[in-house]
C-alpha cells in the first residue's frame, strides 16, 4: 500500500506520543518534519525549474555548467522560490468556512461524501454541506455559476471545461482523483450467453456522460475487439440513476457505469457483470474532485483545507479494513440512498456477479488521490481520437494546468502520506503501453478512430 495514513478508525486524534501521533516522541516528530519540509522545498524548486526550463537537455547543460546552487540562485533572481514554497506551509484559517460541495450519488464520490459523516471536513474547521445533484451537466452548471464551491466530477470534465468543449471555456482545476477502478461493463441478463464482445454488434450501450472515463474506456474496449463504437453499436449518455430502470425496460443492452449502478442491477436480478474496468486498465482514474481556478486563487487557505480533508478521506478509504464502516456511513438516504449490501459489495470487492458466482476482487475499487498528469494526456488522446477535440493540442501544458499534481504532492506530504516523486508515468491499457510524451503517435497507432 502506497499510503500510510495517520488516521485510524480506532485511534483518536489526540496526541499520545507526539503532536501527530505517528512518531515515538516529539523529537523524532520534529526531525521527520524538518526533513519533510526540506524534501518539500526541493520538490517545489524542481517543479519551478522544470517549468522555467522545460527542455531536459538545456536544463542539464545549464546545471552542469553553473552548478546546481548557482543555477538555482540565478533562477530565484526572477522567480521568488521562497514564495512558491510558502503558499502551502502556512496554516492560516480558511477564508470561507461554509462551503457547498456537489456530488452524484455513486461510490466514486466516496471520499467526498464520507468526509462529511466521518468528520474529515470538520477536522479542518470547514463546515461543508454535501449536496446530491441530479446529473453531470447540472453539477457542471452549478459549479460554473458558483452555487457549489467545489464538486465531484468525472476526471475528463475539468479538461473539457478548460478546453471549452461542451460548455464555455472556464479555467478549471482538478487537484485530486477520487477513485481508481470501480467501474464495470454490465449486460442485461438476456445476453448472458454473449460473453464475446465480437457478438455485440447492434447493441445499445449507456455511459454516464460524453466526457467520462466510461465513454473512453467502453470505446477503447469495443475498438480493441474490432467494433467501431460509432457505427457498430449505439452509445448514449444516461445519468447513472436512470440506467438500471432503462436496462430493466430493455431500452439498452448494457452499460459501462459507475458503481453502485452495476451491483444494483445485479442485486435486482436484471444484469450480470461482464468486465470490471480494472481488467481494461488497472488503476485507471475515474471521478475527481474539481474546483474552478477562480475559487482556488481567491481562497487559497480554504482550498488547501478542503483538499487536505479530501486527501485524508481518500487515504482512509484506501485501507481495505475501513471499507465496511464506510459502506454503512454512505449508504443512507442522505448520501447514496442504496441498500447497504450493495455498497458493501462494491467497496469490499466480495460481490455477486449476477451469474450465480461470488467473486473476490479486493481492488475492484480503490482510492488514490494523486492526479497523474499522464492520465490527463491519455484522456486528451481519447478526446481527439473520437473527434471531441480537433487540431493541435498542447497535451503537456493543459495536463499541468488542470491536474494540480504539485499541490496534491504538497498536501499529501503534510497529511503524512507518501506521494510519488514524479507527476507523470507510463501505464498499460489492454496490453498496450501508453507513453505520455508521444500522444500523437499513440492516437495514430489505432486502426479505429475518428481523428484524421
Amino acid at each position: 500500500m502506497s499510503f500510510e495514513s495517520r488516521l485510524h478508525a480506532d485511534a483518536g486524534l489526540a496526541a499520545k506520543t507526539c503532536s501527530c501521533g505517528r512518531h515515538s516522541s516529539q523529537a523524532v516528530h520534529s526531525a521527520a518534519h524538518a526533513s519533510q519540509e526540506q524534501r518539500l522545498d526541493r520538490m517545489i524548486e524542481a517543479a519551478v525549474v522544470r517549468a522555467i526550463l522545460p527542455d531536459d537537455r538545456t536544463r542539464r547543460a545549464l546545471f552542469a555548467k553553473l552548478g546546481a546552487a548557482t543555477a538555482l540562485a540565478a533562477i530565484s533572481q526572477f522567480f521568488p522560490l521562497r514564495g512558491a514554497t510558502e503558499v502551502f506551509a502556512q496554516t492560516a484559517p480558511p477564508e470561507k468556512q461554509d462551503l457547498k460541495v456537489g456530488f452524484i450519488p455513486i461510490t466514486c464520490a466516496t471520499p467526498i461524501i464520507m468526509a462529511h459523516p466521518m468528520g474529515f471536513y470538520a477536522k479542518h474547521k470547514l463546515n461543508v454541506e454535501v449536496v446530491k445533484t441530479a446529473g453531470w451537466a447540472v453539477i457542471r452548471d452549478k459549479t460554473l455559476n458558483g452555487e457549489y464551491d467545489a464538486a465531484h466530477m468525472l476526471s475528463p470534465m475539468p479538461i473539457a471545461m478548460t478546453l471549452g468543449v461542451g460548455s464555455t471555456a472556464i479555467p478549471y482545476t482538478m487537484p485530486a482523483v477520487e477513485n481508481i477502478n470501480g467501474q464495470a461493463i454490465t449486460l442485461a441478463i438476456k445476453h448472458k450467453e454473449k460473453t464475446d464482445p465480437k457478438g455485440w454488434k447492434g447493441f445499445k450501450f449507456a455511459v454516464p456522460f460524453d466526457y467520462s472515463m466510461h465513454n473512453y474506456l467502453l470505446r477503447y474496449f469495443l475498438a480493441e475487439h474490432g467494433l467501431d463504437p460509432d457505427r457498430d453499436v449505439q452509445i448514449r449518455a444516461i445519468p447513472p440513476p436512470e440506467m438500471v430502470a432503462n436496462l430493466r425496460a430493455g431500452n439498452i443492452d448494457g452499460f459501462l457505469a459507475p458503481d453502485p449502478v452495476n451491483q444494483r442491477a445485479v442485486y435486482d436480478g436484471v444484469a450480470f457483470i461482464h468486465t470490471l474496468s480494472k481488467e481494461i486498465w488497472d488503476r485507471h482514474p475515474c471521478c475527481a474532485f474539481a474546483a474552478s481556478k477562480e475559487f482556488i486563487t481567491a481562497n487559497p487557505n480554504t482550498y488547501a483545507a478542503l483538499l487536505k480533508s479530501i486527501i485524508e478521506a481518500t487515504a482512509f478509504a484506501a485501507r481495505p479494513e475501513n471499507r465496511k464502516q464506510i459502506a454503512e456511513a454512505i449508504a443512507p438516504a442522505n448520501y447514496l440512498n442504496q441498500p447497504v449490501t450493495v455498497v458493501e459489495q462494491v467497496l469490499t470487492g466480495r460481490f455477486a456477479d449476477g451469474l450465480g458466482n461470488v467473486k473476490n476482487v479486493p481492488d475492484r475499487i480503490d482510492f488514490d488521490p494523486f492526479p497523474w498528469e499522464s492520465f490527463a494526456v491519455w484522456i486528451m488522446t481519447q478526446m481527439k481520437r473520437w473527434g471531441q477535440i480537433k487540431g493541435e493540442v498542447n497535451y503537456a501544458s493543459i495536463a499541468k494546468e488542470v491536474f494540480l499534481a504539485t499541490d496534491t504532492t504538497k498536501l499529501m506530504l503534510e497529511a503524512g502520506l507518501k506521494p510519488p516523486s514524479t507527476t507523470s508515468k507510463t501505464f498499460v491499457v489492454m496490453g498496450k503501453e501508453f507513453d505520455p510524451t508521444q500522444p500523437e503517435a499513440y492516437i495514430a497507432s489505432f486502426a479505429i478512430k475518428r481523428a484524421s
Binding site: 450519488p105 454541506e129 454535501v130 449536496v131 446530491k132 445533484t133 441530479a134 446529473g135 451537466a137 447540472v138 452548471d141 452549478k142 455559476n145 458558483g146 452555487e147 440513476p241 436512470e242 438500471v244 430502470a245 430493466r248 444494483r264 445485479v266 442485486y267 435486482d268 436480478g269 443512507p332 438516504a333 442522505n334 448520501y335 440512498n337 442504496q338 441498500p339 449490501t341 459489495q345 466480495r350 460481490f351 455477486a352 450465480g356 458466482n357 461470488v358
Partner: protein
C-alpha cells in the same frame, strides 16, 4: 325511488377504487419462480431474486409507506434527506412564487393587449412563438443566465404559467360588452375607473379560468424542474427514490403530487365561483 346523484356517484367511485386496488393486488402478489441459490450468493442479492417477489409493490406496501410518511412528514436528516412534508412545502413555495410573479406580469399585459388592438397585433408573434416552448427547454438557458438553480426553477414556473393567464386576460378584456363600456363613457368615468370598476369585474371569470389552468400547469412543471435541478422539493424526492429504485416511494410521491394538485385546483375553482356572475 332513487338515491341522490351525488351519493350514486360516490358509490361508483368507491367501487372503481376497490376494483383497481384488487387488480393491483392480484397483479403484484404473484411470486415468480425462484431457482435454488447458493446461500452465500443469495445473501448478496435482493429479494426480487431470492424470493421471486415482484419489483412492483402491492397496495399494502404502499399503504404502509404512506402511513410511515404521514407519521413523520417533517423530519430532517441532513441536506439530502428531508421528510415528504418539507419537500412538498418547498415545491408549493416555489410554485406560488413563480405563479404570483406570473400573475403580476400577465394581468397588466393582458389588459393592455385586450384594450388595444394595436398592441394585440404587435405582441401576437412573440406570444405565439414563446407559448409552445416546453418549460424544461428553458432550464439550461435559465441556469446559465440566472446562475441560481432555485431561481431558475421559479423562472421556469413563471414562464410556463404566464401564457394561459395572459391570453385569457386579453380575451376577457376584449370581450367585455360594448354597451357596458358605452355606459361608462356616458357617465364620464375616467379610463382607470372604467378598467377597475367595469372591465375587471366583467372579465374576472375569464381571467380566473386562465389562472386555474396556469396553476395546474405550474404544478405539473415543478416536479419535472425539480427532478432536473435536484436539491429540494417533491420532484427531487421522486428522483432520489428513483435513484434507489424504490417504486413504493415513487408511488407515494405520485399520490401526494396528485392530491396537492387537486387542492390547488379546487382552491382556484372556489375563487372562480366567487367572481362568476349571471349575465
Amino acid at each position: 325511488m332513487r338515491a341522490p346523484l351525488g351519493l350514486r356517484a360516490a358509490l361508483i367511485s368507491l367501487l372503481l377504487c376497490i376494483g383497481l386496488l384488487c387488480v393491483w393486488q392480484v397483479g403484484t402478489a404473484r411470486v415468480g419462480a425462484t431457482v435454488k441459490l447458493d446461500p452465500d450468493y443469495a445473501r448478496l442479492m435482493g429479494i426480487t431474486v431470492t424470493q421471486g417477489k415482484s419489483a412492483m409493490p402491492g397496495p399494502a406496501d404502499v399503504g404502509a409507506k404512506i402511513w410511515q410518511h404521514l407519521k413523520d412528514p417533517f423530519y430532517d436528516r441532513g441536506t439530502n434527506d428531508k421528510g415528504i412534508g418539507i419537500q412538498l412545502l418547498y415545491s408549493i413555495a416555489r410554485v406560488l412564487t413563480g405563479y404570483l410573479l406570473a400573475i403580476a406580469a400577465a394581468v397588466p399585459i393582458g389588459f393592455v393587449i385586450g384594450m388595444s388592438p394595436l398592441m394585440a397585433r404587435a405582441l401576437n408573434p412573440f406570444i405565439q412563438v414563446l407559448k409552445p416552448i416546453s418549460p424544461l427547454a428553458w432550464m439550461p438557458l435559465a441556469l446559465y443566465t440566472i446562475k441560481d438553480s432555485s431561481l431558475s426553477a421559479i423562472f421556469v414556473i413563471f414562464i410556463c404559467s404566464v401564457w394561459p393567464m395572459l391570453l385569457n386576460t386579453a380575451f376577457g378584456v376584449a370581450s367585455v360588452r360594448r354597451e357596458w363600456l358605452n355606459v361608462a363613457k356616458t357617465l364620464e368615468m375616467s379610463p382607470a375607473r372604467t378598467a377597475l370598476r367595469v372591465i375587471l369585474p366583467a372579465a374576472a371569470p375569464t381571467i380566473l379560468t386562465g389562472m386555474r389552468i396556469s396553476i395546474g400547469i405550474a404544478w405539473l412543471v415543478i416536479v419535472a424542474a425539480e427532478m432536473l435541478v435536484g436539491g429540494t422539493g417533491i420532484g427531487y424526492f421522486v428522483w432520489n427514490e428513483w435513484n434507489n429504485l424504490s417504486i413504493t416511494n415513487v408511488i407515494v410521491a405520485i399520490l401526494c403530487i396528485g392530491f396537492v394538485g387537486m387542492l390547488l385546483d379546487q382552491l382556484m375553482a372556489g375563487l372562480l365561483r366567487l367572481v362568476t356572475y349571471a349575465d
